[in-house]
């Protein structure tokens, strides 16, 4: 061996030794007990709720700690994009939080991996009955409920009355079905050259027309049907005709198109109002909210934020108890009033706040969507590995609608892909 080669070998061995030495220093710490003098400290994480709703949480946490002197709540808030990484790294390092705010898709994904507690084991029938069935069942997989529903939102139809009137349509008699909405969009496009609305290509499109994503047992794909072919081909034609913008438009894009008056309608939840108010005050003034036109299934789809308790939590019982408290009717009503969201508990919507409107856009949207909560269901109801399934469905929709692949063939390939995902 030459001197040079020996030197290189020595350097490599040194580096490896250093790596091994360093790796032995990190991770794998023992789980913190979070018990101080008999007091249990619960780590509670939310997504993007500080500082706007800090007063509400300070109040509700103080109330809970007063009623449960043995528990202390340590509340942390993370941005939407950071919460996944933060949660993964915390679980990996053995310091899992106890109660975490996640959306349904993420909660289902974690449930499929057995990473969150089954709430059915911990809740009484009365406690379960407090939530709207359609929303509570959204994270039920194989009889196990992987999350408690918290605040939610159902879509309403926002309409730019200026554009609608310019197209010769009457906003006082809005479209009630997807077919009517499509006709309105066609007329908007024909008369003023704008598109009807922008659409995101997600599995929700199946649910709107009552096409099941999976079979009843959640063991196989069930969307490869003539109805699905018709639905997709219809949407494809609408994009060709300019009724729907030819793009897979994420929410932020949809806001942009509506704010720029490139579309006359928007189908979205209550949070859309805040974006429009900021981005385009003039458009906000011309906007009204009406009940969302329904598809063949005649359902209202909810978009819910949940609370989960990771199985790695050191205080599962206390964590579930706190999650139940935070999602009970009283807490949810108070939060809805603070945050302009909808509750997932039946008793909450009996409050006058959800039935009376001062005719502002916010109040219109709130009343309209609150009255449809009893029909609400999450479109990813009990789908295992929901993120994988959604990702595959979106790719297939894009291939058919934007890339022009054959609908039937692509659906058959998607069916196979989803079946493979479910076997994981």
């Amino acid at each position: 061996m030459t001197k040079k080669a020996k030197g290189r070998l020595r350097l490599l061995v040194s580096m490896l030794a250093l790596v091994v030495l360093l790796s032995s220093c990190g991770g794998g710490g023992s789980k913190p007990e979070n018990v101080n003098g008999g007091k249990v400290t619960l780590q509670f994480w939310t997504i993007a709720l500080q500082p706007t709703f800090t007063p509400y949480f300070n109040r509700v946490i103080a109330d809970y700690e007063e009623k449960n002197p043995n528990v202390k709540i340590d509340w942390k808030d993370y941005p939407y994009d950071a919460v996944t990484n933060k949660l993964l790294t915390s679980i990996a390092s053995g310091s899992s939080p106890d109660v975490v705010n996640l959306n349904t898709e993420f909660a289902s994904q974690m449930g499929s991996k057995g990473a969150v507690v089954d709430m059915n084991e911990h809740l009484s029938p009365e406690e379960k009955a407090a939530y709207f069935d359609g929303i509570y069942n959204s994270t039920v997989i194989n009889g196990k409920a992987y999350a408690l529903p918290w605040y939610t939102g159902t879509e309403v139809l926002y309409m730019n009355t200026k554009l609608v009137k310019a197209a010769g349509l009457d906003p006082a008699h809005p479209p009630k079905t997807r077919e009517e909405l499509s006709e309105w969009g066609r007329q908007v496009n024909r008369k003023i050259g704008k598109a009807g609305y922008a659409q995101q290509l997600v599995s929700k499109l199946f649910a709107i027309d009552g096409i099941p994503i999976l079979n009843k047992e959640k063991t196989a794909a069930a969307f490869n049907t003539p109805e699905a072919v018709t639905m997709i081909d219809n949407l494809k034609k609408q994009m060709e005709d300019g009724v729907v913008l030819k793009e897979d438009a994420e929410f932020s894009q949809q806001v942009k198109y509506y704010a720029g008056e490139q579309v006359a309608f928007e189908l979205a939840g209550p949070t859309f109002i805040n974006f429009i108010k900021t981005a385009a005050p003039d458009v906000y003034k011309n906007t009204i909210a009406v009940p969302v036109p329904t598809g063949k299934a005649d359902v209202r789809l909810s978009n819910t934020m949940d609370l989960v308790v990771p199985t790695k939590s050191a205080h599962v019982d206390e964590a579930v108890k706190f999650a139940v408290f935070l999602t009970n009717a009283e807490s949810q009503t108070a939060f809805s009033k603070a945050a302009n969201t909808l509750p997932s508990t039946k008793d909450s919507i009996k409050d006058p706040y959800f039935t009376q409107s001062d005719q502002s856009l916010e109040a219109q949207a709130k009343v309209v969507s609150a009255q449809s909560l009893d029909k609400a269901t999450d479109y990813m109801v009990g789908v295992p590995n929901a993120k994988d399934v959604n990702s595959a469905v979106t790719r297939a929709f894009q291939n058919i609608i934007l890339n022009g692949t054959d609908t039937k063939q692509t659906l058959t390939a998607l069916e196979q892909e989803v079946n493979d995902i479910l076997k994981q």
């Binding site: 580096m15 993964l88 030819k246 793009e247 897979d248 720029g260 490139q262 894009q398 291939n399 994981q424």
Partner: protein, 293 residues
């Protein structure tokens, strides 16, 4: 011992150690650790099981992964264009015209701008009813909107253009440094012999830039295969799988779907592809250049 402490070798190690420590923690260790990880179904959030070579077997049957590798290889096509245009730009700004620094700075602005910001600006320029479409229509080049980012036959090339646009200034600066290392007397001697401007570039500039070309080719090749930001912000790999690149697919499998074991296996395969391509580039071009000492 004291003799060694005073030696050049000790000084060199002392300077290198902080960087090496960081590299060890954030580069070497993750690479080494991904090898055993690739043999498991590790997902962070649930129990881990040894699965042997299953992840690799799945990878070579995974249509989406194969498409993502292919798209990444197509992305490599920007490398020669990037070198040609950045050399030309470097030659252009390597003159003593008054105000040339303004041009150099202008060309460099995209480099120091965050890729996310650049991608968002391009999404506004290229979206539905966009400025680019409007200008092209006004000029009579097109008669109706082109869906730059949602047309599968265009989207990948549009992303490649954006990557190239952003990278040009960076490589231009490297080549500029190379150009300024070339002794001027070589040009003067050639001019005395009657060489044209073109011959000066072909017979002096390019041969003496070879080490720079090798370096820039290598890093732009790796960057092209690892491209992520612009794809994630602008298309998320769509429409369908038209712009699904290997980095994005690995990210989706790991960070979005928690299949870290599988994502590690994919990462190792992509790493091997980059290594093979780098070796080919290295073998291709190792001689030439100016010895600065």
């Amino acid at each position: 011992m004291i003799k060694w402490l005073r030696s050049e070798s000790f000084t060199a190690w002392a300077f290198m150690t902080p960087g090496l420590l960081l590299l060890a923690v954030f580069v070497f260790w993750p690479i080494i650790y991904s090898i055993p990880l690739a043999l498991t179904d590790y997902s962070v959030i649930s129990d881990t099981h040894y699965v042997g070579l299953d992840n690799f077997e799945t990878a070579f049957k995974d249509r989406n992964f194969l498409i993502s590798i292919w798209n990444s290889l197509v992305y490599v096509l920007i490398v020669p264009f990037l070198q040609i245009f950045s050399i030309l730009m470097a030659v252009l700004v390597n003159s003593r015209i008054p105000g040339i620094k303004i041009f150099r700075t202008t060309y460099y602005i995209p480099v120091v701008t965050s890729m996310v910001a650049v991608a968002l600006i391009w999404s506004w320029l290229l979206g539905n009813n966009s400025v680019v479409n409007y200008l092209l229509m006004q000029a009579g080049v097109i008669s109706k909107d082109i869906h730059w980012l949602s047309d599968s036959s265009l989207a990948l090339y549009v992303l490649m253009f954006i990557t190239m646009w952003k990278g040009l200034g960076y490589y231009m600066m490297l080549y500029l440094a190379g150009l300024q290392n070339i002794p001027q007397d070589l040009y003067e001697a050639a001019r005395v012999d009657g060489a044209s401007r073109w011959r000066l570039i072909v017979h002096i500039t390019l041969p003496l830039l070879r080490p720079y070309i090798l370096f820039c080719t290598l890093i732009s090749l790796m960057a092209a295969i690892r491209v992520f930001d612009e794809v994630y912000v602008l298309t998320k790999g769509g429409p369908g799988t038209a712009t699904l690149t290997s980095s994005l697919y690995i990210f989706q499998k790991g960070m979005e779907q928690f299949n870290f074991g599988y994502a590690s296996a994919l990462g190792l395969i992509v790493g091997a592809v980059i290594a093979v391509l780098s070796i080919i580039v290295f073998r291709f071009n190792r001689k030439g250049g100016v010895n600065p000492y």
